[in-house]
Symmetry: C2
Subunit: 202 residues, 2 copies
């Protein structure tokens, strides 16, 4: 029985390694398709073909096209999270809270060029879900900095700031209103400097 | 020919009167259903039954359930527009721009109780469309007040403020985060006082 158990564990490990390798293969293929043709061209067929696996493997790993998009968005989010939680200042720890807030907005705006299409496509129908774990993490981070700045009601202020940084809006402003990253970043700066300055005034 | 033309015009007028009456009847029936049961219960069948007309009449006037929801949202928006563009101060003209901005946020938050369900249901899949005429009008109004306050880049700042006032987010904060109107209004006040204070600082 114990031997069988050990064998099963080894089998599982092999399966897990295969699964991880397939997952990586599929995510890379999907990212390449999105980068080359945009998220509209991302179909489970196209990903399976590019990765050289059966379509069933895509469904087994991600459930659906939407699942694949969410996995891509999560992956894009993870490196961003790493940067603002543990990366070098001013985005990461070590800089003053206002500097970190400003850097957070600039980084959020800057990553739209690379990740915006995926983030927008992965956003739920009816707009971004404020309780998605990634959104929660972003708000926790913003609220922490706002609290350090002694902004009134940092929790609610974090919703206000996150509402402006959502992918749908930033991409809309960049693509349809022709607003540059520099202009978006300048306006973000006014907003957070203003919030910091409003402390005790309102 | 002329007589026929005149007759046709008279016919059109009669039709227009009928159309307007039917439209009113259907919108009132729809508003009653939403108020009593929420927008999920708003079906074209239910509206036709309550208004005592055929289902075809609903489709002829509004095209679909979505068309009916948009018409309801437009109607709710129109009285709000009337209030902030031509109503009494501080929401309407006559108050100082900062007072008007504060009043605008308070009124937007307050109307969610009545109109929020309709506004949210009418919002496009993928979130609110920033170029919907109602959204454009709201931003023009915000930008005008921000310009009077000499806020940097009033156009972009109007997108930032409008992003926080969208129905989906306000309802989420009220319903799922249990935030009171007073709390939402206080945070709005900090935001706009901050923007006004940031003038020339950032």
């Amino acid at each position: 029985m114990q031997g069988e158990g050990l064998l099963r564990v080894t089998g599982d490990d092999g399966e897990r390694t295969d699964a991880a390798r397939n997952r990586r293969l599929l995510l890379d293929a999907a990212a390449e398709i999105v980068a080359a043709c945009g998220p509209d061209r991302l179909t489970t067929d196209a990903v399976a073909r590019r990765a050289g696996v059966g379509k069933g493997t895509v469904f087994r790993r991600f459930g659906s096209r939407a699942g694949l998009l969410h996995a891509l968005a999560d992956e894009a989010g993870r490196s961003f999270q790493q940067a603002f939680m543990a990366g070098p200042p001013p985005l990461g720890p070590g800089a003053a809270p206002l500097e970190r807030l400003i850097a957070f907005g600039e980084a959020s705006i800057g990553r739209m060029l690379l990740d915006g299409q995926i983030l927008r496509a992965a956003e739920q129908r009816g707009g971004p879900d404020p309780e998605h774990p990634t959104q929660q993490l972003i708000r926790l981070h913003l609220a922490m900095l706002l609290r350090e700045l002694e902004v009134q009601d940092p929790e609610l202020a974090s919703y206000q700031l996150a509402a402006f940084l959502n992918a749908g809006l930033l991409l809309h402003l960049q693509e349809h209103r022709g607003m540059s990253d520099a202009r978006l970043a300048a306006s973000w700066r006014v907003l957070v400097v203003g919030l910091a300055a409003a402390r005790g005034r309102a």
